[in-house]
Structure formats: C-alpha cells, structure tokens
C-alpha cells in the first residue's frame, strides 16, 4: 500500500528547493505576504472525531470534509489522522496561501462577509478559495496553487487601488 509520500513536499530531501507558487508574484511585496508553506491536510470522515493539536485549525467544508491547517508537519498530521480512522491527504502543495491586512482590501477581493469567517467562496472573480481571519484586520486566503500567482497579482493591484 502506498504511503502517498509523493503528495508531501516535506518528504523531499533537505537539499530540494521547494518553490512557492506566489514566490514571483510577491517578490518584494510588503502588503501581501506569502504563507503557502503552511501545512494543509484534506480530511475525510467524521470531522467531529478530529482531535486538534496546538497550532492546528480545522476549516469544515461539509460535515465529512475539511481542511486542517497546521504550523507543524502536514505529513505527521496525516499519519495521526489516518491512525485515528480518518482519511487524510497532504494538500500542502495544492493550495497557495496569502495573508493581507485590512478589511477594505479583502472586500475588493471577495464577496464573503468579513464577519462570518472562515468561509469558502469566490475570490478575485471566481477563484474558489477559503478565507480566514487570522486576527484583528489580518486575513488569510487559500486558493488553488495554479491560480495563486493570478490571485496574488489581483491582491497587489487592489492594494495599489486603495493606496491611491
């Protein structure tokens, strides 16, 4: 049985240079930050059975499907969840994550209500995303990595529009 190691960026050797999909878009940017290396695990099964460890957060998409975000190792979280009878997949590489400050900037990117986060919905004109409030006026947006560069460019441009 496969361990699905090939899904995990962290399973690569230490000399492998991992590149974020936002690296080029956000090079030198101040207002929008790249947090794509954050661990992400797709969890399937009874989510009520998920026990979170410090530094972890679970975003529920349906009662039996969620995304676990972790500051620690996604691979370790996968193994732990699988041992607990859930199905878990390392999606760290699948999602780009960016952080930005200011509710107005967020409102220029999505129709999701800042008051009811986390939530899933369209970001930057139709890109499916997950939006979280990290704290205060700081928000995190997770989008498919292949659209990450695009979303980052839209976010930077929206920031420029606000700064005018």
């Amino acid at each position: 049985m496969s361990t699905l190691d090939f899904l995990s960026p962290q399973a690569a050797a230490s000399d492998v240079r991992l590149v974020s999909p936002l690296a080029r878009a956000l090079e030198g940017a101040q207002s929008v930050r790249d947090v794509s290396s954050f661990g992400k695990v797709e969890v399937r099964g009874v989510l009520d059975g998920v026990e979170l460890e410090p530094g972890e957060e679970l975003v529920r998409i349906t009662p039996s499907r969620g995304v676990l975000l972790t500051a620690g190792s996604a691979g370790a979280a996968c193994a732990r969840l699988r041992a607990a009878g859930l199905r878990a997949y390392d999606m760290t590489g699948a999602l780009a994550a960016l952080e930005l400050d200011g509710e107005r900037l967020l409102r220029r990117l999505t129709d999701l209500e800042p008051e009811s986060l986390p939530a899933a919905g369209a970001v930057a004109r139709g890109v499916p995303g997950i939006v979280q409030r990290v704290g205060g006026e700081t928000f995190r947006i997770l989008v498919p990595q292949e659209l990450g560069h695009y979303v980052a460019a839209v976010a930077l441009d929206a920031g420029e529009g606000l700064a005018r």
């Binding site: 899904l7 492998v16 399937r44 997949y89 699948a94 220029r108 292949e146 695009y150």
Partner: protein, 859 residues
C-alpha cells in the same frame, strides 16, 4: 449675468474656479456645476440632438435628460448640469460637425424629415445593395454620442454589506436613513447629487455623487461611485428616488428655453441665475406652479400661468428663431416669451422598484404609473410611492395650429409623435415591440422623461388605455454608467503550472489551453520532436487531472464506472481507461494506476479534471460506495520524460531499480528522483520509452532543472501533438466530440460486455451495428497539409472531416485523423479532402504510422 447674492444659494462668490470650454477660459464660482457656469457665461445651446442635430439647451438640471451631454477631460457624455466645476477641466461639445452654434449636420433636420423616418437606415438605404458598406460607414460616423477618449482610467470594485441601504437623499430618504440608524448600525445612504457631500447624518454613512445602477437577483445593488463600483448587499433596501417632472408633447417642445420646473428651481435658487426675461408657466400639478414666485423673485416677467387642472389646453405650439424659443401659441393666442416652464405632472421614479419585482399600475386620474406590491426586503418612501399630490392627465399630444414643427416624445433618440404613429401603422402595436423599433425609451435617459409620454401616445393611437398598455420592462442600468466601471480591473484568471516560469525563462512560446498557459514549443518544434525520437525530451504535463480513489469499494466503483475492467488490475499496474456517458459517448480518457488494494490513482485530460471529479462524485452519491474521491490535480506536478535515453537518465537520478524488469511498460512505482518522492508511471503517449513522474508541486522547478541538466530537451504541446499523431493516439475533445462512441472511435476492444453493468453499457450493446462514421488515420503523400476541420469528400459528397493533421518528419509525410463513412474506413481507401479551396488526395491508414507494434514503448 448673476442675480444679486441671495439666501440659500449654493455658490461661493469669494472662490473662483476656472476651466476651459473649447478655446475659451470660463471662470466659475465654487459650488457651480460646469453647466451652471456655462449658463452664467451666456451659453444657451449645450448640445445638438442625436439624429436631427437640433440645438438643445438645459431642460431638467437634474442630470436626467440628454440635453447637456458634453465631453469633459476626454470622458464623453458627461451631464454637465450636475458635474461640479473643477479647476483646469477641459470641456468640449460633442456630436457636432463644426460648433454647437453652426453644426453642419443640422441639415438632417431641414431636409431629412421625410427621408429619415424611424428605421430609415434599414429601409431606405438598402439600394443599390453594393452601396451598403458606404452607407454603413456614413451612418456609423454620423451616429453615436461622443468619442471614447484615449485616456485610460482606473476603476475598482468593492463588495459592501449594509443592514439598510437607502437610495435617494431627498427629505424622505434622509428621514428613513435616520430612523433606521436609530435602530442600529449598518445604514448607508446613496445620493446622486453632490449637495449631501460632507452632510452629517448621525449613524448614517452618506455616499454622495453615487448612483444605484439597478437591483439584481439576491438583492445586489451596484452603486456607481465614480471610479469605484460598490456591490452592495443589504438586508433592507429603501428606495427614495422621488418623482420625475415630465415634459409635455407639443410642436417645438425641444426649443431652447422650454424648461422643466426643476431647472428653474436649480438655476435660480442654487446658482442665482435668471432663466429668461418673459415666461409662460404650464403645469398639470401644483408643484410645477410653485416656480411662479421663484421666477418673479428672479425678476422674470410672468406672461401667463396655466393650471391644466383648471384649464385644459386645446392647442399648444412653440415657435422659435435659430432654435431659441420666441413665442408660444396656445388656443389661438400668441404670447411672446423666451421661457416656457412646462410640467406634465410628476412621475414616481419607480424603475428600481420594478427591477426588484414590484408591480406597476396606472393611475388614470393623475396620469402616472404607481408601484404596488413591493417584494420582501424592499421598501419605498416619499414621492416614489405615488405621493405626488393631485394632478390631471395631460393630453398625449397637443396639436399646433397650421404648419408647425416637430413634436418630440423622446429627446434622447429624437423620436417624434409621427415616428410612433408610423410604428403603430406598420403593425408594431405592442409597446415592447414599438420600443425596439423606434428606440423610444432606449436612450441615455432610459425612459425617465419619455416612458409616460410614449405610453400615452400609444394608448391614444391604438385606442387602448394606458392601464392596458402598461410599461416596458424596467432593466438596469437605471442611471448611465461607464462600461469601464462595470468591467473593473482587467485581470485574466490564469492557471500556471509549478514550472511555468521555467518555460518562460527558456523562451517558450506560450498558448492558452483553457485557463492554462502552456508552452507551444521552445522555438523549434521539429527539433523537439527529433529529440524525443532520438535522445531525450521532457514535457510539463502538470495540467493533467489527477484523482485519488480510496476505500474498500474503490475497485468495485471504478469497475462499474468504466467500460473496461479494473477489478483484476494488479497493484502496481496501469490500464488505459475511457469514461463514457449514460448514452455511451466518450467523455474523457486517461490512465488508472492501482497503488493498493483499495487505492487507485486516476489521471484525466487537462480540461477534464473538474468534470471527471464531479462525474465520479455524482455516481458515488447514487451508488453509495465507501470510497473517497480526492482531486489532487494542483497538489502534484507531472513531467513526462520520454525518449530512448529516458531509462539511463532516470537511473542516474534515483537509487531505485529502473530496469525494464523492475518498471515495465504500464507499471506504476514510487521512486525518489533527485531527492523528490515521485509516483512514476511507465506510459507512452508520445510513442517512445517514457516515464511520467508525478510529485509534490513545490518541487516542480527542482526536478525540472535536474532532468534538463541530465540532457532532457524541453518540448511543448506542438511537438507532443506531432508525436502522438504518429501513434494515432486520440485526444478526447480534439478528435472526438459529444457524438463519438467507443465503437466509432475505433476502441471497440475496450468495453467488456460480459460485465454485469457499466455506465453506458446499453448504448454500446445497442450501437454495435449503428456506427455511422469511424475515426481513422490518414496520410497525404503530396505533403499538402489540410486544415483541421476540413471536409472529407467521397464522390463529391461530404463524407467526413479532418480532426488533426501535422507533417511528420519521421513518417516523411502528412499524417492525420479524420472521421469518415464506415465504407471508407479500410486500409488504403482513398479520400478527397477539401481544404482552403484545394482538393487534397489522402489515403486511409488504420495502424499507427510509427512503431505500430509498440516495441519502442516496451523497450
């Protein structure tokens, strides 16, 4: 020209602001609009009309009518009557050939009448037929409102929420906003005027110079705030858009000097300007008559006041000199005047309510349409509800006596009573049809000043009542809006693989493949093909759809979904699979690798990843198997390393065994390549020994770099198309369409009819002897390249079409795939292909053109 300073005026005489109009410098006061400043400088003609180029002057001063459209700082169609002055602005007249005073195009008014009735251009300008291109050019040059300037402006979009959104900042709107604010926060008031800017309404966010464009589904109210589009969603929307004073329809009703009462109020009270010397006031309701003391106060002599409620007029006509009003003829009497203030009553501005779903009903006593039955969440306050006081229905048309001028129903589009009558005569007896034919209500005012008048005239001409005729459908935009604002910032959603920038850096020519940007080639497609055949190539195939199917029922699930067999697939083996619809049509194709007893890895076409995932989930929602379907498309990058040197190169980058015995053709193995854990699939889309490596996308550039360093030459989609065509490998969607079945596509070997069930099985059984066309390979000896989509002819009759064709250096001729009649689907059958006017002779070839036994794949 200004009246002495007066209480309540909106101008600040101590502050001058200057701007340019044409070549002259205009000095205005702070608080002026561009329109009021030009008026103060003595200008009376503000525009030329749309079709007849008649001189037009201020009419409403509320930003509703088309009479003051000018180009300001390169932006056409600015309503200068409500556009605040700003220093240094450059204002120009538009839609004129010459100047506003001498517009050469006004010849259409003098001679054009009989020749330019409604719809003339597609009725009288059709002969001779070959002259139409000339006519069209002339018409297009003559028509239109202004020219779009080259200046690009930035427009942004913002999503907003509100508990209560009030549209309209008149007294009723302000009171509603304050009442809502008393109940809690989240109250926003939008008003199109500038006078509320900086106004303090406790607890209310006031957006001045902002217009609600419409009400859309889900209560979405887009608000035009200049260079920012605010997309409001509110729990409650309160409409307080007030009422619109309506013009009367009579000969000469468009002359400069014929004003609505609102214009008088603004000119005198806001800007201290006298609108004339001698005035006649005609009104169908009391508020219109209120201008009499205002005029007197401004020193205007009142020649006559007519309250239509007490004295219905028989005839009414205006006469003028050079487009300016000089006298009014009413009921046989002639009155010299330079100002006629007319009001046909106040029509509630119900459009937003109607857009939201309210019913609109005619009130025959007052001659106005009133909104009824408001939908939930929508409220109305003030005059828009129909509280506009007593009024009388004016005549649909006041006839003049003797030879008189045109009576305009619609000023925006220059539609006269005669145009409407003609439309009725020609059978356009429904208001909606007549609107499309005459374009009445379709101009910049969007029916604000012509909806009621045109309705009334229709009712009269067709002998029906206004109530029966009803109104035309209210649609956004309610207020004019710049297209740039609706479009917003230009960003093209683009999917980029994890290796995208390596392709750009290597000078790849990129092309769109759906939302993806992919390399067409790296500048030498033929050389790239050669590299794969003779040495080693690498192509980024990260766009392939990738799914994990996991669970105890995974094998059963796939067995039931696919026409071919998967239950017997051994762990570590790969099988090609084609998905078919319930009707047996080809949906998608790809490979299925078994990674464990209950774990499969499925690839799909690049465009099919989302739809295949949905297809899987949809069937499993019905069947209820214990399987998880996980879309890992973005999680993984994928590279196809192909060519005779592939094994050797891979062996140098991994400690794993890559011998033909360890990873044979159609084997799947997990390998660490250059330190990256990979799933290696030994498959051969391009016809040479090859390994598809699937691995975590953040390692994309690393592995790409290492493979290139091992001598793999990057190749793009174009060389891949040639390579796969040499093997007659089908691309679903390119070579197949929604009619293609497994049998017709030459994959009759694939479905296993002894399976109890699979999606589309009945169609395969039924379709055995019903194949009407077959997908076959062909070669063109002459080397001529037919276009994709070119027609295949047999005996001069259409008998199929070409789906793919390329020149193959390796085969030495043009090779392709085409759909042909079954009787032509034999090796050696001759085909005639019609492409770009030439007939190309081709020959059917059923076996792959290159390595038909697949020895190179298995080597």
């Amino acid at each position: 020209m200004r009246l002495p300073p007066r209480a309540g005026e909106r101008i600040d005489r101590s502050r001058n602001i200057s701007f340019r109009y044409g070549t002259e410098e205009v000095v205005a006061f702070a608080g002026d609009t561009i329109g009021s400043a030009l008026y103060a400088g003595g200008r009376r003609v503000f525009s030329r009309s749309f079709k007849y180029h008649r001189p037009r002057g201020l009419l409403c001063c509320t930003g509703h009518c088309p009479n003051c459209l000018m180009t300001v700082d390169g932006v056409p169609n600015v309503r200068v009557c409500v556009e605040p002055v700003r220093a240094g602005a450059v204002v120009k007249a538009q839609n004129v050939l010459g100047s506003l005073e001498r517009d050469l195009m006004s010849v259409t008014d003098r001679i054009g009448g009989p020749f330019t009735p409604v719809g003339f251009y597609y009725r009288t300008m059709i002969r001779p037929r070959r002259a139409w291109p000339l006519y069209e050019r002339l018409l297009r040059n003559a028509a239109g409102l202004g020219r779009v300037g080259g200046r690009s402006r930035r427009f942004d979009t913002e999503h907003r929420r509100a508990r209560v959104l009030v549209v309209g900042g008149g007294r009723a709107g302000r009171e509603a906003a304050l009442a809502a604010a008393a109940e809690g926060p989240g109250v926003v008031l939008v008003d199109e005027g500038s006078h509320l800017a900086g106004a303090e309404l406790p607890g209310v966010e006031v957006l001045a110079r902002a217009r609600a464009i419409g009400i859309y589904e889900g209560g979405l109210v887009p608000v035009d705030a200049g260079e920012l589009l605010l997309r409001f969603r509110a729990q409650r929307v309160v409409i307080a858009t007030g009422a619109l004073e309506q013009p009367l329809v009579f000969p000469g009703n468009d002359l400069v000097g014929v004003l609505l009462p609102s214009a008088v109020r603004r000119l005198v009270q806001d800007w201290s300007l006298a609108p004339g010397r001698r005035a006649v006031v005609i009104a169908a309701e009391s508020r219109g008559l209120d201008v009499v003391p205002i005029l007197e106060d401004a020193g205007v002599e009142i020649a006559r006041t007519i309250d239509l409620r007490e004295r219905p007029l028989g005839t009414l006509a205006a006469e003028g000199h050079k487009g300016r009003l000089t006298r009014l003829a009413l009921d046989g009497e002639t009155i010299d005047c330079d100002l006629a203030v007319v009001s046909g009553g106040r029509q509630p501005a119900y459009s937003l309510l109607a857009q939201a779903g309210a019913r609109v009903e005619y009130d025959p006593t007052r001659g106005i349409f009133v909104p009824r039955e408001l939908p939930p969440g929508i409220e109305a306050v003030g005059a828009v509800t129909g509280e506009v006081g007593a009024a009388v229905e004016p005549a649909a048309l006041y006839a003049g006596s003797g030879r008189t001028g045109k009576s305009f129903v619609c000023l925006c589009e220059d539609v006269t009573d005669k145009d409407l009558a003609r439309a009725v005569r020609e059978g356009f007896d429904s208001l909606e049809l007549a609107k499309r034919y005459t374009t009445v209500t379709m101009g910049p005012c969007q029916g604000k000043l012509c909806q009621v008048a045109s309705n009334r005239l229709y009712a009269q001409r067709t002998g029906t009542g206004s109530a029966a005729i009803g109104t035309t459908t209210a649609r956004p935009p309610w207020a004019p809006v710049e297209l740039g604002l609706l479009a917003g910032r230009h960003h093209e959603p683009t999917r980029r693989s994890a290796i995208h920038f390596r392709h750009e850096e290597a000078g790849a020519e990129m092309l769109w493949a759906g939302q993806w940007q992919r390399p067409h080639s790296y500048g030498d497609a033929a050389g790239e093909v050669r590299a794969v055949h003779e040495s080693l190539g690498v192509i980024d195939v990260s766009t392939l759809g990738k799914l994990l199917v996991e669970g105890p029922d995974a094998a059963r699930f796939l067995e039931r979904l696919y026409p071919n067999r998967f239950a017997d697939l051994r762990v570590g083996r790969i099988r090609y699979g084609v998905l078919t619809s319930d009707g047996g049509r080809i949906l998608d194709d790809g490979t299925v690798a078994r990674l464990g007893e209950g774990l499969f890895y499925v690839t799909t076409t690049s465009s099919g990843s989302d739809s295949v995932c949905e297809w899987f989930e949809w069937w499993n929602a019905i069947w209820g198997y214990d399987v998880e379907i996980v879309n890992v498309t973005g999680a993984l990058a994928a590279l196809n390393l192909a060519g005779p040197r592939a094994r050797e190169a891979l062996g140098r980058l991994t400690e794993g065994d890559v011998s033909n015995e360890a990873i044979g053709y159609l084997d799947a193995r997990e390998l660490r390549v250059a330190g990256v854990p990979c799933l290696a699939l030994r498959i051969g889309f391009v016809g040479e020994l090859g390994y598809e490596l699937h691995f975590a996308s953040p390692a994309g550039e690393h592995l790409w770099d290492r493979l290139v360093a091992e001598g793999a030459r990057p190749f793009g989609l174009e060389p891949q198309r040639v390579l796969r065509l040499e093997k007659q490998h089908v691309i679903v969607g390119q070579d197949t369409d929604s009619e293609s079945s497994l049998l017709s596509a030459g994959m009759g070997w694939l479905p296993k009819l002894d399976k109890e069930e699979f999606v589309g099985k009945w169609a395969v059984e039924l379709g055995q002897d019903r194949v009407r066309e077959r997908l076959v390979g062909f070669t063109v000896r002459s080397g001529e390249l037919p276009k994709e989509g070119a027609q295949v002819l047999v005996g001069g009759q259409p008998a199929g079409r070409v789906t793919s064709a390329r020149y193959s250096e390796r085969v030495g001729t043009v090779v392709g795939l085409a759909w042909v009649r079954p009787d032509r689907a034999q090796d050696g059958s001759e085909l005639a292909i019609r492409s770009d006017g030439a007939t190309i002779a081709a020959e059917v070839a059923l076996a792959p053109f290159y390595d038909p036994e697949g020895e190179r794949l298995r080597s």
